[in-house]
């Protein structure tokens, strides 16, 4: 993974000094509330319902064990002993003290971490595929480019006061595990007709109040043009994005208003002045970035005998076998497997992880996965490089720590934002709904029978829980001061991305498990043998679901 040199270290250290001074001036009354606002936001700090909330950046979801231990320490010492994995692969603390935030930042800087631009109207943490570097369907590892984008976007002087927040995701595989279609900019590593790998660049995707699927701005550019092309898009947005209405300020609105053609033209025109300029990436800069993401010291393992041994273990212990099937994926190196640690145990808020669990994950990473771990946008964690022969032992340790719920990719692997329990923008709570659904569908055989299914919950229109791209999406709405939930069906986050369609009038919290039950039973009744939930939905449309859910009780 990327390791700081003196330059990187100086940048985060100077940031701590700067923010310490800003916090002092704010507390002394030299900075007004309004002036301090964007400064603290760009250091990850925002004030919420109960306390300040702080977001810590995990660039493209990659962490080492020392960083995990530091996070455990921070949650214990400055917070209440747990952290929350967000849908941008970051960590969030729910209870820090404003006065202590400079100290937290200093602790983070000591392990090459920060909270830079995790909030505010600037370029946010770049996200990527949690299986980057190990996935079998990878065209090229996206992480070197994520790191190049991270550095470029960190304190970019031109783009620190954009009309609105700005999110970039990079994907380097056949399947899109980084939801690039719902980002302000999506970058995809693709070959051109001659087979040379470059970038396809999309813009104008987003969730929130006006969800949109991103449009292709360029089908292919050479790698060296990555940053100048991004700058051209950002500049067009910075100059022309709406600033009069917060709800119309995202780039998706600009792309829509201008039309993709005109937007592309404006970008290409701006690009002419930037192209081949100083931000052009020389080959050695790309090579340097790549040098941080070389293979760890994999052993040469006889894949087929390792597989056979694993199959035998799975047969002997079906609970292990089940976990193996659901929570691990194949690896491009024979004899290895990538493991997802489920942060979706019923009773725990989706994505929450305790200080002790963080420490255990650090230990397990050291023991089994070259000292590294990852966060996922589905709010789980990953150990990406585990030898197949170690899986059984790893599973036993995960089980003891409550991290082995075998539900990855299934109904109860719910994505949920913090919602009304923590977030001051919320219309409704999300966590109790997630828990009620998890409790209602606790029969693993039933959820496996349903097949892979994504259920996403957001507490308001801001869509932090990505409800639009959940196959089942739940959105908290306010109806005359009461909390209600709107359900949508048919969202899809992958390459053929689509947005969910609203089922109909919203429901009370208590009714939600029943509503989900009806949706699921409609699917079970209508599906053909091979069909997933999404397949059936696409074939039969929304009407049968609607009829069942809103049918009058006899």
């Amino acid at each position: 993974m990327y390791v700081y040199d003196d330059y990187d270290q100086r940048i985060v250290d100077q940031r701590v000094t700067q923010f310490r001074d800003q916090t002092r001036r704010y507390l002394d009354g030299q900075l007004t509330e309004e002036q301090f606002l964007p400064l603290r936001l760009q250091n990850g700090l925002y004030v919420q319902r109960l306390a300040p909330m702080m977001r810590i950046a995990v660039p493209y979801g990659l962490l080492n064990s020392a960083q995990l231990r530091k996070l455990a320490h921070i949650t214990r010492h400055y917070d209440k002993g747990y952290a929350h994995v967000t849908t941008r692969q970051n960590f969030q603390l729910n209870w820090p003290q404003l006065e202590e935030v400079p100290d937290i930042l200093e602790e983070l800087a000591n392990v090459q971490m920060h909270a830079i631009q995790t909030s505010g109207n600037c370029i946010r943490n770049t996200t990527s595929d949690e299986f980057a570097g190990v996935a079998r369907d990878e065209i090229e590892d996206p992480r070197p480019y994520c790191e190049i984008i991270r550095q470029w976007s960190t304190f970019h002087p031109e783009f620190a006061f954009l009309p609105r927040k700005f999110k970039i995701a990079v994907c380097g595989s056949l399947e899109d595990r980084a939801t690039i279609h719902s980002h302000d900019i999506g970058v995809e590593l693709v070959p051109n007709e001659e087979g040379v790998i470059g970038f396809k660049v999309l813009a104008g995707g987003g969730l929130g109040r006006t969800p949109m699927i991103a449009s292709v701005i360029t089908e292919w550019i050479e790698k060296r043009h990555l940053l100048t092309y991004l700058e051209a898009i950002l500049r067009v947005y910075n100059l022309h994005g709406r600033r009069d209405n917060k709800f119309k300020a995202r780039i998706k609105i600009l792309v829509k208003a201008m039309g993709v053609e005109a937007f592309r033209e404006a970008v290409e025109k701006e690009w002419l002045t930037l192209k081949d300029g100083p931000s052009t990436l020389p080959e050695d800069a790309i090579e340097q970035a790549k040098s941080f993401f070389t293979d760890p010291a994999y052993e040469t393992i006889d894949g087929s005998s390792a597989e056979a041994a694993l199959a035998a273990q799975a047969e002997r212990d079906p609970i292990f076998g089940n976990w193996l099937k659901r929570n691990t994926v194949e690896h491009r190196i024979p004899g290895y497997q990538a493991v997802t640690l489920s942060l979706k145990r019923t009773g725990d808020a989706p994505g929450d992880v305790s200080d002790r669990q963080l420490e255990l994950i650090a230990d397990l990473a050291d023991k089994y996965s070259f000292g590294q771990a990852r966060t996922t946008h589905q709010q789980n964690m990953v150990l990406a490089d585990v030898r197949q022969q170690d899986l059984y032992a790893l599973w036993q340790e995960l089980q003891a720590a409550g991290l082995a719920t075998a539900n990855i990719g299934y109904l109860t692997d719910i994505i949920a934002c913090p919602g009304g329990d923590y977030c001051s923008l919320a219309n409704a709570k999300s966590l109790p709904v997630a828990e009620a659904i998890q409790a209602r569908f606790d029969d693993l055989d039933y959820i496996y029978d349903l097949g892979p299914l994504e259920l996403n919950i957001s507490g308001c229109m801001n869509a932090c829980g990505h409800h639009h791209i959940g196959q089942i999406g739940i959105l908290g709405v306010d109806k005359k001061g009461e909390e209600f939930y709107q359900v949508s069906l048919g969202g899809n986050q992958y390459k053929d991305a689509s947005l969910g369609k609203i089922l109909g009038p919203s429901f009370k919290q208590d009714d939600m498990p029943e509503v989900i039950e009806k949706i699921l039973s409609t699917y079970v009744d209508l599906r053909t043998e091979e069909e997933s939930f999404l397949d059936t939905y696409k074939r039969v449309g929304i009407t049968p679901f609607k009829e069942r859910v809103y049918a009058k009780a006899d």
């Binding site: 964007p38 190049i148 550095q151 031109e158 006061f161 340097q288």
Partner: protein, 156 residues
Amino acid sequence: MPKLIKGAEIVNDERWKAPQPDAETVSEGVICTLAQWQALDDKAGSAVQLEPGDDVHSLLPHLQEIELIAVNFPVFTDGRGFSYARELRENGYQGELRAVGAFIRDQLHYLSRVGFDAFQLEDESQLEAAIKSLEDFSVHYQASISHPLPLFRRRS
């Protein structure tokens, strides 16, 4: 007489007065609005102030003649001025580029990086302290007007 930060010092601006948008003719020593400036027959030695939303491109053919371009920040969170500055410098503007308005000292470092070389803060009592903010960071990742070589070119 407004006070400015220029070249990391506080100076009095004896040369230019703030724009008078309603004046029919612009007197000597007064900064033009963009509309007034466009109406000038002779743009040599002129001074113009851009507001958010103004089109920078009309200035580009005259960059060698203009003496001062001021960019107004009516609210500090409107970041369009950062792009104006960079575009002007990228297109070869060498004269004074002055930030005016409601920007705050914590933005000085970014402002100087995109090409501003003069800063007229609304609150003059802040000037002394603000000079320090110019030096908030000694290393930068990306190319900018003040430091054209991005870090990746200096590293490799």
